[in-house]
């Protein structure tokens, strides 16, 4: 019995939709898209992008594979499944930047083949490890000489403006982007950027001028005049080239170094203890061999990398610290590890969002993995955030059937630091309660004392 469901976020472009048939990903190509589809495939662009690893693969399959859902469709395509879907409001700065550069690369390559993109949605980029990949193979159509870059405003809202926010003000894009799924408008950004940003020609034009023009050009007459304008291809190419050069140079504002960025050199346990933890994670990983591992509170990814070197196929890290995520992403890029660090506030994970609250899935519906590790994490949630201990442990265990969780006792310097300025209300926070909470849901396979302060690692199995 096959289970067919439609991707709830795939409705904006009527030229096709995404369906899931059991674990397969299928896409309809409707008759209105056929001319463009055939033209683009004959241009060789799709093959070239795919062989460069920039575009998700595709193969034509028989329409019957999709049953009644293929009614009216001209073609049905099958794509390989992306193991974990993430959203731009979960990406660190460098991930958003590399997605922006990928989008520009694809638009530039397309233009050379007489093809353009129908939009510039950041949601069309996904990550395999730290490598961005474009997933919308129907976003291509024939380029008509003189036409505008239809996706320019969207590219600004979903890529450029969020990057500029961090680059000029030091404020990360994530909370704003999550609140407004279309990204950050030029009008809004122009109100918060510092005056000196206007010295940049690109900020002046793509943000300030665009905001002003959008505001002053809403009359019918202006819309009619705009429709009559043309963009020479050379102007289009130069605009893409200019944007690419500019975005390549954007970096987070320099004075926004974070606490956790320095954590590795500043933490409370000695190198030998960290090594012991790594060895435990390595042993766990080589036994379980998880295809998908979640590392909650990943910091810069030490233990994800240890797991990946020892049998894990892919690791998704979560942390709330922008500096740590940034370093983690750069480590993933330089080591080519299949590791993607994402932003997560455990007390407020990404909810279901968008149209009918089904367009972008909440974290809980995406975190079904093979293994989970939560190291140096639970005391932050239970003590610093006042989250109930049983709830925290249940939440982690729900992510995967097996995992490693760390208990950090009250006498540990890190917990003492958390309690420095506040009353210790956490009478139940102790090893026995921790073990009881864990055993209420899972079997303890193995445990080790991992520090002189009495930290303990528990390997659990709820299968």
């Amino acid at each position: 019995m096959t289970d067919v469901s439609v991707e709830a976020g795939s409705f904006r472009d009527p030229r096709g939709r995404i369906y899931y048939v059991d674990s397969r990903v299928l896409r309809t190509v409707m008759p209105m898209a056929v001319a463009d589809f055939d033209y683009v495939r004959s241009s060789g662009l799709i093959e070239a992008l795919h062989s460069d690893g920039k575009l998700v693969g595709e193969s034509l399959v028989d329409n019957t594979e999709l049953g009644a859902c293929a009614n009216g469709a001209a073609y049905v395509l099958e794509h390989p499944r992306i193991p974990f879907i993430s959203y731009p409001y979960e990406w660190p700065f460098s991930a958003l930047k590399s997605a922006a550069l990928l989008h520009l690369d694809i638009q530039q390559s397309a233009l050379q083949k007489g093809v353009t993109l129908t939009d510039a949605s950041a949601y069309n980029v996904q990550f395999v490890g730290s490598r961005p990949i474009f997933i919308d193979s129907l976003a291509f159509r024939r380029y008509n000489d003189g036409e505008f870059w239809v996706g320019h405003r969207q590219f600004c809202e979903q890529f450029v403006n969020p990057l500029l926010l961090r680059a000029y003000t030091g404020v990360a894009h994530n909370a704003w982007f999550r609140g407004r799924l279309e990204g950050i408008s030029a009008e809004d950004l122009s109100r918060v950027l510092p005056w000196r940003s206007r010295l940049s020609w690109n900020v002046l034009t793509h943000v300030m001028m665009q905001a002003r023009l959008q505001g002053s050009a809403s009359s019918n007459d202006a819309v009619r005049r705009a429709k009559d304008r043309k963009l020479p291809k050379i102007g289009f190419e130069q605009m893409l080239h200019g944007l690419r050069k500019w975005i390549t140079k954007l970096e987070p504002k320099a004075d926004t170094r974070t606490v956790w960025q320095d954590y590795a050199g500043d933490n409370s346990y000695a190198d030998a203890e960290a090594e012991q933890k790594r060895a435990f994670v390595a042993e766990f990983s080589s036994t379980v061999k998880p295809a998908l591992l979640f590392d909650v509170g990943c910091n810069t990814g030490d233990y994800s990398l240890a797991a990946l070197e020892n049998g894990a196929a892919m690791a998704i890290g979560f942390d709330f610290d922008q500096g740590a995520l940034e370093l983690g992403f750069q480590r993933a890029v330089s080591s080519r590890a299949n590791f993607l660090p994402l932003l997560l506030d455990a007390a407020n994970p990404s909810p279901d969002l968008g149209w009918r609250q089904a367009e972008r899935l909440g974290l809980q519906r995406r975190t079904q993995g093979d293994a989970v590790i939560g190291l140096a994490l639970i005391h932050h949630l239970a003590i610093a955030k006042n989250l109930p201990l049983q709830g925290v442990i249940d939440w982690l265990i729900d992510m995967a059937p097996q995992g490693v969780l760390e208990f950090v006792p009250k006498q540990d310097p890190m917990v003492q630091r958390l309690l420095q300025l506040r009353e210790d209300l956490f009478v139940d926070y102790n090893e026995q309660t921790f073990v009881d909470c864990l055993q209420a849901r899972a079997r303890i396979v193995k445990s080790i004392v991992a520090s002189a302060s009495g930290r303990i690692l528990y390997w659990f199995d709820r299968a």
């Binding site: 904006r12 472009d13 009527p14 030229r15 463009d36 690369d105 530039q108 390559s109 233009l111 050379q112 129908t118 939009d119 159509r141 008509n144 000489d145 003189g146 036409e147 505008f148 870059w149 239809v150 996706g151 320019h152 405003r153 969207q154 600004c156 030029a186 034009t205 793509h206 001028m209 665009q210 905001a211 002003r212 023009l213 959008q214 505001g215 050009a217 809403s218 202006a222 819309v223 705009a226 429709k227 304008r229 043309k230 963009l231 020479p232 291809k233 050379i234 102007g235 289009f236 190419e237 130069q238 605009m239 893409l240 080239h241 690419r244």
Partner: protein, 82 residues
């Protein structure tokens, strides 16, 4: 190479004056974005023309027609980058 650039600029301008290009777009590009793009394009084309004449002028006075190859190399770089 200067000639190639000149031909490209000319063809682009010609293309834009004689061809209407109604095209399917499910996305509203935004009036502000369109006006901005046409301004940026105007500037880019003007710069292209100016650069062309600048290289010709330099070549005329220096007597070295190879100067324009520099632009050709730059153009090639743009192509390679994209």
């Amino acid at each position: 190479m200067a000639r190639v650039l000149a031909v490209r600029v000319f063809l682009s301008l010609l293309g834009c004056t004689v061809m209407a290009a109604p095209s399917y777009a499910y996305l509203d590009p935004g009036t502000g974005s369109i006006i901005l793009q046409s301004i940026l394009a105007g500037i880019a084309v003007a710069m292209g023309v100016l650069r062309l004449y600048w290289y010709r002028l330099k070549a005329f006075f220096s007597g070295k027609p190879t100067e324009s190859d520099g632009q050709g190399a730059k153009d090639a770089e743009i192509q390679k980058d994209s």
